[in-house]
């Protein structure tokens, strides 16, 4: 008969070894190029089998808003802000060379020619691969974005402690 004795220390080490590397990405920017990088890193990591969580805050929230909906805030100040700050993954501006939309349109064209997926497709791919999307509640309120105008793929609404609890376990934590 063959019996193996379990050493607590080795068992723990093995367990830690088996624990997959976690990735967290804070997406503060609403620039098309930055958001694109965030989704590419997220889906790449998910394809490698790592659990990935993306936290969207401030302008980054525009990447997880439904296209063509306005803020939906109650008071006029935030309603105005929500109206000025049009969201939707497909209408994010480039961080440079936006040129009132012309530069961004040209970039999208080049991406299409190179069979590069756009932001909505990248986001869908990331979600399909199991990347979790979390929207920051505080900035939702600040920016006058109501939660019913967010896409259905958003897994939860949370705050900074949720982020930190996850980032603490993360081996790759990015702020974009």
């Amino acid at each position: 008969m063959n019996s193996t004795k379990l050493e607590p220390a080795t068992a723990l080490a093995e367990l830690q070894e088996q624990k997959p590397d976690r990735v967290t990405i804070v997406v503060l920017s609403g620039d098309m190029d930055r958001v694109m990088a965030a989704f590419i890193i997220a889906s790449g990591a998910a394809a490698m089998g790592m659990p990935v969580t993306m936290f969207f805050t401030f302008w980054g929230l525009n990447a997880i808003r439904r296209d063509g909906v306005s803020g939906g805030a109650k008071d006029w100040l935030r309603r105005m802000f929500g109206w000025l700050n049009k969201g939707g993954a497909d209408s994010l501006p480039l961080s440079r060379f936006h040129f009132w939309g012309l530069g961004t349109r040209m970039m999208k064209r080049v991406m299409q020619q190179h069979r590069m997926p756009g932001i909505p497709e990248l986001r869908e791919t990331a979600h399909e691969l199991g990347v979790r999307f979390i929207a920051c509640t505080t900035t939702l309120g600040l920016m006058g974005i109501s939660k019913d105008t967010l896409i259905d793929d958003v897994d939860q609404l949370a705050g900074v402690t949720t982020y930190l609890a996850e980032a603490k376990e993360g081996s790759v934590n990015l702020f974009i």
Binding site: G44, A46, A47, M48, M50, H114, R115, M116, P117, L129
Partner: protein, 82 residues
């Protein structure tokens, strides 16, 4: 020439698409089978071994062929586990 069981064409796609397509396709294989990934993105030379190292699948080999204007890479990945 390495023998493969399943072929995956990712020609024309840039990073991260070849890897994402690979990670989806590998689910259809049974352990022991070899997936051949066709790509013209040079990044695959480094990315596929890195993906294998992280996921635990075995990188069997990489072939490179230059035809006319472009280079085509064939990455062979053996599925090791379910």
């Amino acid at each position: 020439m390495i023998q493969s069981d399943v072929k995956l064409d990712t020609l024309g796609y840039f990073c991260p698409m070849p890897i994402i397509m690979t990670s989806k396709k590998i689910k259809e294989l049974i352990p022991g089978q070899v997936l051949e990934v066709l790509s013209d993105d040079e990044g695959i030379k480094k990315d596929m071994p890195a993906w294998c190292q992280t996921t635990g699948h075995e990188m069997v080999g990489l072939e490179e062929e230059a035809s006319d204007a472009r280079r085509i890479y064939r990455a062979f990945v053996k599925k090791t586990k379910q």
